[in-house]
Amino acid sequence: MSTELPEPASKIELKPGVGGGGEIPTFNITLRVRRYTPESTADAYWEDFKLTMYGTDRVLDALHKVKWEHDGSLSFRRSCAHGVCGSDAMRINGRNRLACKTLLKDLDTSKPITVEAIKGLPLEKDLIVDMEPFFQSYREIMPFLINDGHEPSGERYQSAADHAKFEDTTKCILCAACTSSCPVFWTDGQYFGPAAIVNAHRFIFDSRDDAGDMRLEILNDKEGVWRCRTTFNCTEACPRGIQVTQAIAEVKQAILSRTV
């Protein structure tokens, strides 16, 4: 329930310089992009672009600058450009991140910034991979609420404490940053991968769902949670701050205790 607040003051003294501002600094970078253009060149190759960028720019802005001003053929997915649609997961300086959430100023701009496609999924062109195997794993864990009981006429109740058990894993945007950062997934594409387990967790721990046992059985498979080697790459890669490794551990625990 929303809390009642006293009315804020009609007028306050603002501290000098409040609200940020000032000149936005510019700087030069080298963007080193892993290109793959199978229609013209068989092998992937690195290409450098020298760019002048602003202090508030993100890696996505640098990619757009290349595409819009230098080479229109550079191909990458993007849509919302502020970290909620999950289109632009890529490997930036060797780490999986969203290009639209990675500010250039937070990277070491004295060295080339490397950008390549996420690993473990079939490469299609430049930074674009085939996402179908990723979504296939997602579909296999039955990512939808299953409730055998009578459909209530009104809403189902759920306590705030029960809601809290799975809220973290509802934040997933299916960007594949976690799954494609996982060394197990790189070597074994059959492994469900962290994202599918995160989405299974979201339903297994939802008090309204009745199919937890079925999902646990699916994840108890040889390609399931037991492949996880707890390297924490996934948790570090998640642009939504989901505690991915912890969610996987909770699923492992649930399989062992089967008390869900």
């Binding site: 329930m1 940020g20 501002g21 191909s75 450009a81 970290g83 289109s87 705030a160 809220e167 299916l174």
Partner: protein
């Protein structure tokens, strides 16, 4: 070229498209064509909530919600449609809850509700808690939940298929009074498969457009790069009118300079706006509900503060959203995502510092005209059998001249569902319309011309000039001179567009080509918006003319209907015919709009 046959084809996989697909997919052979993967759509960026008069936390009812929607839209709302939406809102929320949406809960475990701009108790007496929400990612949870249920029902998706044309025929027909007219009928759509560059024809008995808005007409916008008005543009080129295109919503709180949205939920949870003097200026503009006035009023008030010299920052070009009097724990529980946006993109800590904000182009109130069953109209009242539209691409009209916050998440659920049901029902008894000769010809010609062009113009250059001119002249404040300036540039850009070329000549994932085609839609939409703004010589809702600052019910209490017509001229603009359509009134007579 492949030809596919489905009973129902849905274009777009955002909230409206997937809500339609859940209904249609269980009743008819249905395909969803989407230019993005389904969970990438911009529904996922919606933050604050979805209103429904559940009365879970305080007294409320759908009639109050209807009134607020009508008043919020400055009485240009079709009241029958608003009534449908407010009534069906309650089931729409319950449907989502049953599908699994993880709403925030009250201590008793019921769906929690919070305040939102323009939503009031008993016809404006005070703000009411009506918005159901999941933290500040309600749109994300709606999009995920709808996709999950599409997976559950095995909905067939064609991902990264760009629909570029609609196949339409015209038949001679007669009205009841015996006059002859041309009846439009839809036969299918033409789509471009991004992965291969191949064209695919989809023949269908029913086609549902759910392609979203056109916010990328503007430079400062909360919209995704992909919101380029494709669906509106395709309909317009086929001679279908676009309704009320002069009404674009500028959301008050975009991150200054970036346009990224900070939800109105921040103000619903108690945040307020301040100018450079530290003053809570909304007390002057809307004495009763202050910072929770509807978006058009707040956006205009902010722009006015800046204009009168009370803006903040080195260029005095923004105001501040102040959350510093809220408890950090409260902010973390209710507004985690947007406070992170402020930290990530502006480096501002909202616990202790006010956040720089300025209005950002957010939502197109206008669109493809439909009735309350989501059927598309080819004029003021003639239905095109088998053609439907829902969500931002459509104009029912539930938003009139200014949409209330949360009502778009509601719109996509209520009218998305209605579109899916209507489409499946029609397909159950209708026959396929025969495909025209060479159905792909228009599209293949357009693509070949673009790929073979040796022109010297670049897409990004033209698009930037368009967005700059629209921000400067067709934003919160407009007048004849500013609109004239915009039109001159748009015309120039349309000429230069003929000389555009792309660098990527390949067939695989040629996004260079698609951006060029999208620019064509943007240019069309910019021209229609500006022409309609020129035509409406009054101020109402999101459309404010400084040369006509008052609402003029006598001359303009009516919807505008823009048609593409090579033989016509409107306000000196050739190629557009402007007509009007009566507003539907049921229970509320227009009153002065004060908050």
């Amino acid at each position: 070229m492949q030809v596919h046959k489905y009973d129902v084809v849905i274009v777009g996989a955002g909230g409206a498209g997937m809500r339609a697909a859940i209904e249609s997919g269980q009743r008819a052979h249905t395909a969803v064509l989407t230019k993005l993967y389904p969970t990438r759509s911009h529904t996922g960026a919606a933050q604050g909530g979805m209103c429904a008069a559940l009365a879970n936390v305080e007294e409320d009812n759908w009639e109050w919600h209807t009134f607020d929607t009508v008043k919020g839209g400055d009485y240009l709302v079709d009241q029958d449609a608003a009534e449908v939406m407010a009534k069906e809102a309650i089931d729409a929320v319950l449907d989502l809850e049953k599908m699994g949406l993880p709403f925030n809960r009250t201590p008793e475990g019921k769906i929690d509700q919070r305040r939102f701009g323009g939503h009031t108790r008993d016809h404006g007496k005070a703000a009411v808690r009506r918005a159901c929400y999941a933290a500040d990612r309600t749109g994300h949870m709606i999009l995920q939940t709808l996709y999950q249920n599409c997976v559950k029902h095995n909905v067939e998706f064609y991902n990264e298929y760009y629909v570029l044309d609609m196949l339409m025929v015209e038949e001679d027909a007669y009205r009841e009074d015996g006059t002859a007219y041309k009846q439009k009928r839809v036969a299918g759509v033409v789509s471009y498969d991004l992965a291969t560059g191949e064209l695919h024809i989809f023949q269908a008995k029913s086609v549902v457009f759910a392609t979203g808005g056109a916010g990328k007409v503007f430079k400062t916008t909360s919209n995704a790069h992909t919101l380029t008005g494709d669906g509106m543009g395709i309909a317009f080129r086929k001679g279908i009118p676009l309704e009320d295109m002069e009404f674009v919503q500028f959301h008050p709180t975009g991150l200054a300079g970036l346009g990224i949205l900070l939800s109105e939920a921040a103000r619903g949870e108690g945040a307020i706006l301040r100018n450079s003097e530290g003053e809570r200026f909304m007390e002057r503009y809307a004495p009763t509900i202050k910072d929770l006035a509807p978006r058009d009023i707040v956006a205009r008030s902010m722009a006015n503060e800046v204009r009168e010299g009370r803006g903040c920052g080195p260029n005095k070009d923004y105001v501040l959203l102040d959350l510093t009097h809220l408890e950090p724990a409260h902010i973390d529980a209710k507004l985690p995502d947007i406070t992170e946006f402020a930290r990530t993109y502006l480096g501002v800590e909202p616990y202790t510092e006010p956040v720089p904000v300025f209005p950002t182009a957010h939502y197109v109130m206008g669109g493809i005209p439909t009735n309350i069953d989501a059927e598309v109209l080819q004029d003021n009242d003639t239905v095109i059998p088998g053609l439907y539209a829902a969500g931002e691409v459509a104009c029912v009209s539930v938003h009139g001249s200014n949409r209330l916050g949360t009502n778009s998440l509601l719109d996509i659920n209520v009218f998305g569902k209605r579109a899916g049901l209507s489409a499946a029902k029609y397909a159950a008894t209708a026959d396929f319309v025969a495909l025209p000769e060479d159905p792909e010809k228009f599209t293949s010609t357009q693509i070949d011309a673009m790929l073979n062009s040796t022109g010297t113009e670049r897409v990004a250059v033209l698009r930037k000039e368009l967005q700059d001119i629209m921000d400067a002249n067709v934003q919160v404040f407009r007048d004849k001179d500013s609109l004239d300036r915009a039109l001159v540039v748009i015309e120039e850009l349309r000429e230069r567009y003929k000389n555009v070329s792309v660098q990527d000549k390949g067939k695989r994932f040629n996004l260079d080509l698609l951006e060029a085609i999208e620019l064509g839609f943007l240019l069309d939409m910019a021209e229609v918006m500006t022409a309609a703004a020129m035509h409406r010589k009054e101020s109402r809702g999101g459309h404010y003319r400084e040369d006509f600052p008052n609402r003029d019910d006598e001359n303009f209490m009516k919807h505008s209907m823009s048609y593409r017509d090579a033989t016509a001229t409107t306000e000196g603009i050739s190629g557009i015919r402007m007509e009007t359509k009566p507003v539907i009134f049921t229970r509320y007579q227009p009153m002065e709009r004060k908050y």
